[in-house]
Amino acid sequence: MSRAFTPGRVVLHGLLLVLSALTVFPLLWIVTAAFTPQDLIAAKSMRFWPESPTLANFTEAARRQPIWAWLWNSILTSALITLGKLLLSLPAGYAFARMRFAGRDAAFWIIVATMSFPAVLAIIPTYIGVVKLQMFDTYSAMIVPMIPYVGFYVFYFRQSFLQLPASMFEAARIDGAGVWRQFTQIALPNVMGAIAALSVISFMGAWNIYLWGQLVLDDAGKKTLTTGIALFADLDAAETPWGALMATGLLSILPVLGVFLLAQRYIVEALAPGLGEK
């Protein structure tokens, strides 16, 4: 598709270039600090390029803290939270879209009303529960309470399933497919784009869980990247290891960035139908 070279488009490019630069700019400090030797970092408040670039900050970070374990923990907890959300919300979204049953509307609103529930509101009782059930400092405590925030997911998958033509399921039913097979073999394969989009969004969200992780993960080896980073800044912060801290910060960004860049097309393409009208 070729497009005319118009003044309007030039202006748009200009504006977006500026906007993108402004948005990315604060991250520049993270990147340059990650590759600048520790003793040079504090000497300037801003640099645009690392002086005598080095990878020493990464090895220093690994020496001080189990950052590779954190990386693995982040991947693990984010994947399990995402999986949990899909397991809860896909069947529910399907049933709300394609089944008629008593109490359906009530159940739907019970779930969807939580879409706007700020997680911090539930934090104290959940924390007490975790402590009382002896789950403090376990992965379960980090993962399980974060899964039920599925209001958006149920709402969205219901929309996606509603858009599949009824005839598709009719044909399968005539072929003798039961409810479960209709769900797994007809419905799911046809909303893969939507599943991919929400998986990525969920993964990114779980990756960045901060307050809750700070609270329930204790052992340094159990932390995730985003919660562990705080360990670099200790109390007598006589010498904050800025380099190691930013190297780890960069490490925490790269995997999600990769996932996002690979999946962003799906997200944009698949998100819309789920929110759009039938």
Partner: protein
Amino acid sequence: MVKDSITTTKDPPMTQFSRRAILATGAAAFATSFLPGRARASDVRLTVSSIWGADKPFQKVVDAFNAKGLGVQVENRFDGDYEAATAKALAGIAAGKAPDLMVTGWKFGYFARRTLGARDLRQIDEARAAAIMENFRPSLVPLVTIDQALIGLPWAMSTPITFINSQLWAEAGLSPDLPENPDTDWLYDAGRKLDAALKGHATYRSALALSNNEWTSQSFIQNAGGFIIDPEGRLALESDAARAGMEAFCAPAHEGLWLPVSGKEQDAAFEAGALAICTTSSTRAVSFPQGPAKAITAKFPGLAGHARNMNSGGNFLAVYTQEAERAQAALSFLEFCASKEGQMIWSEVGYLNTSTHEIPLINAFMAPAEAQLQDGLSAETIWPGKRGLEGQGIWRNWVTRMLTKEVSVAEGLKQASAELALVLAD
């Protein structure tokens, strides 16, 4: 029971996996905390919740103790700052997984004893406790005695001193001979001279920072002859002395010599050569003089015409385990920490030598802090009551309001006093 079925999930396979991953990276410091060299199966294993990571001198103390093979193995668990570590301890205690030992800030003394249940060392073993305390200067015993209980080792003490960027100081033409007992008149005047001399300087941006926290403001009030909480335990903020102290504390901020920011930002600005003078914990003597600021040190400023009465701060090492055998093992660790060998390693942190041992200063920049210790140091404010933790936050907020001129000093002290009274009475 529910409890049993759930505890089995406590250590899922992934923990193992992550540990293997850690070992594979060869993170030696970390690995040692899991694989102590001379550990035996019969050893008592203790966890100490601390505010220092595996790369700090505290870890060296722990490692040296473990290497002795006394039948006790200690694992250092870094739990964040005082507040975070306290929160973790509370959760751990409630979950029945109290840390055996914990590092707690002086300021949380009452909280540690009354809410968290720090053990009275003398109650664990009268003789051993007495022998341990023999290693410390007698004047420090009251600092770790809360409600008549001896709740910890008074081994980590610092005091605020003055750090000066030597290069900016020289560029402004100021004399490198710093007074032995500087006062605010001298310090603020130097600030004004710096500001006048270094206009348009490449890095210099601000003359001084006194640290916007509850600690240095207390120094000012005491140096003016007052108290935040007097020796009888009463709030003493509505006094002329407190007012004079806070007026002097706020003066450079009101004059524009000082931009009050958080501790981290203040340190960053000082290291970058943007800030010429900062008063902060003597523990910075380990880093500031060696950093790009090439800091030189002096005592904390006193107030002209008043006797100095400097305060200290820091933390103590307390025992929390309720089991007799573990508590005895914890005393073994405390004995080592109190010994000359332990104290030698420990001194690298940059705390004052609170022991009776002959420990050389780690560097000359510690000298003003040591001199303040010789002058005599009072304790930092130990906030009483069940809600003492909130007291500190409230006082800090009012200090900020006075600094930023949101309220006048007189009004700020009055309102702080009223708000604190409510919380501390509870």
